[in-house]
């Protein structure tokens, strides 16, 4: 799975692994530049670009004017002009101005020019709720991105994956929306190899093998999913837990193999339910594994509401209890 790792590792949080990925990739390839709001001297509001300004200077770590459409639009120009820009959108809730450039251009240049031009761009953005932030700081817009042909959508859930996936994304020749689960930016550390290594896009991770039911999730929702697996193991319910890691390209083989084995699927995400990624997975299982299903696919998701302000947000976000209840529904069907 990983290439060219050194033997040495460091214990890093997820956000530190992001920084490490940028630093390692930038050292190897001078065409990689980072741009966004507060990414320079301040090192990003979450410190994801900490230290990069000092090491690589103001031409490669660029504090831009406050304009998301400008950031992504100019990054497209930089990409066509020979660079590999990694643009930061400070929070997913602020991507809307840039959606014009992402949807109308980044996603379409290759196709529009029949391959004459392409856009090797990564747009990083912290996403998701649970940090008691003000309005517009808790959104999960992966489904919007997935529904835009031409984009790849990657969401890590561990420090190791964050680094390996981000390096793969940067080296990929097409645009990648890289959504970072900010709730777990600092919740745990793990061993992360030094230097450049890859976790390939489009390869899911079967985090726990199980027999009775498959739980599929990604990003910050891996936590309640794994907690539910552990909780139910005590009742001898064997839950297989899959971390998709990338939504586009999707590892359909791993998904279908698992559902074929267990006959039950629960999808967990914090984005709203209607037209969320769970709806797509349900349809895919319907297309490819219907005869193996022992119960309807269950979705444990955010509600079809605006993400509530801080004091009510825990009522909105799926937690272990809701995942357990979803699993039981498929078992009791």
């Amino acid at each position: 799975m990983s290439a060219r790792t050194t033997d040495k590792t460091q214990k890093l949080t997820l956000v530190q692994a992001v920084t490490d990925a940028l630093q390692c990739a930038m050292r190897e390839d001078p065409s990689i530049i980072v741009l966004g709001e507060d990414v320079g001297l301040n090192g990003g509001v979450f410190r994801a670009t900490d230290g990069l300004f000092k090491e690589f200077g103001a031409d490669r770590v660029i504090d831009t004017p406050l304009a998301e459409n400008g950031i992504v639009g100019s990054a497209i120009g930089l990409a066509i002009g020979g660079f590999r820009p990694v643009a930061e959108i400070q929070f997913t809730g602020f991507v809307y101005p840039a959606v014009n450039q992402i949807f109308a251009h980044a996603a379409r240049y290759r196709n529009r020019t029949r391959g004459r031009y392409h856009v090797p761009l990564v747009v990083r953005m912290p996403y998701g709720g649970g940090i008691h932030a003000p309005e517009h700081h808790s959104e999960s817009y992966e489904a919007l991105m997935v529904n835009t042909p031409g984009l790849q959508v990657v969401i890590p859930s561990t420090p190791y994956d964050a680094k390996g996936l981000l390096i793969s994304a940067i080296q990929n020749n097409d645009p990648v929306i890289f959504m970072e689960p900010k709730k777990i930016y600092r919740s745990f550390r793990e061993d992360v190899p030094e230097g450049v290594y890859h976790v390939p896009l489009g390869k899911a991770n079967v985090v726990k093998e199980g027999r009775d039911v498959t739980v599929v999730s990604y990003g910050a929702m891996m936590r309640p999913s794994l907690e539910a697996q552990e909780f139910l193991a005590r009742e001898n319910i064997s839950v297989e837990v899959i971390d998709l890691r990338s939504l586009v390209p999707l590892d359909i083989d791993t998904l279908i193999a698992s559902v074929t084995k267990t006959g039950r699927l629960v999808v967990v995400h914090e984005a709203p339910r209607s037209c969320g990624f769970g709806a797509e997975l349900t349809a895919l299982v319907n297309d490819k594994a219907l005869v193996h299903l022992l119960a309807p696919v269950e979705r444990v998701t955010g509600y079809d509401t605006i993400f509530p302000y801080a004091i009510l947000e825990h009522h909105y976000l799926p937690d272990r209890e809701r995942v357990v209840a979803g699993i039981r529904k498929t078992l009791d069907f």
């Binding site: 507060d38 001297l41 406050l66 459409n69 809730g93 602020f94 004091i311």
Partner: protein, 357 residues
Amino acid sequence: MPRQVIFEGRIENLSILDKDGQVDKKLEPKLTRDQLTGMYRLMVMMRKFDEKALNLQRQGRIGTYGSLRGQEAAQAGIAFNLTKTDWVVPSFREHGVMMALGLPMHLIYAYWKGDERGNIVPPDLRILPASVPVGSQLVHAAGLGMAMRLKDEPSVVVGFAGDGATSEGDFHEALNFAGVFNARTVFFIQNNQWAISVPRKRQTAAESIAQKALAYGIPGIQVDGNDVLAVYAASKAAVEHARSGKGASLIEAVTYRMGDHTTADDQKRYRDPDDIAYWLARDPIDRFRKYLVSKKMWTDDNDAALAAEMTAMVEDEVKKLESMPAPTPVEFFDHMYETLPWNLREQREAFAQGDRS
């Protein structure tokens, strides 16, 4: 003549009180003692509110908070020109303007606590809720200004934003619409020099923000935003311009964000302490107090009494905040639409019955 000048622009900076509170007699606005001390009251009220908010945040009694410290003159100077029938379209740092127009402080605290009920503006006020997506609200201010013109209401709309916001497309579209449609809108930009860690010179290569007005065919002026008299005078002219149907204009109030961007920020990472010291010597409240004292309108005793009054008022508002009953969780479903569609009804029902899947 193949080449001729078709446009020449000029932007003025207005300053009435110098940093030590010395007034420029020729420019001094004619205001009564009550008006002048009223302005001072507003500024002190804002500061007391702000200090308490920072306190509440540190104690975990409210959430992330954006301080307005240093921007009291800018906010009092514009607010003093507005009435309850004028529209306020704020960004997220205009607590001062909001309370000056009569929005109860406990609602503002509730907002920063993460309680949507803080956005339930009393029916006698025309204040829109705080807008977090930077610059986005300015286009609403343009549209509201169009509405006031179409209905020929003598109400003025003030759209607020910071220096950083002037880089967003929304700022430019707002000024352009307001210009083309002769909107009754005043765009009030508090240039506090910073957009989180990014300095003003990084937002635009232009000499001023005020001059951007000229490209959209509306007047613009830069004022010393820590001089409440200058802000008052410029705002008065802009508000009268809009109210009388002459259209939109832009004010750039040059001020300084004395604190962190919000309580989630650490300005020490990117700001020079000398810079802060420079601006501390230009504190808008100290400066105006010196002016009032020199006019024999204010004494130390007045100051102590006012501080005590405002502290008591703030404490009272905190009590109101903390005696608000907890919201019922299910209410986050209830205001999505006038009529909830089936999916929300179904989800609401399940949620209310404690179905946790």
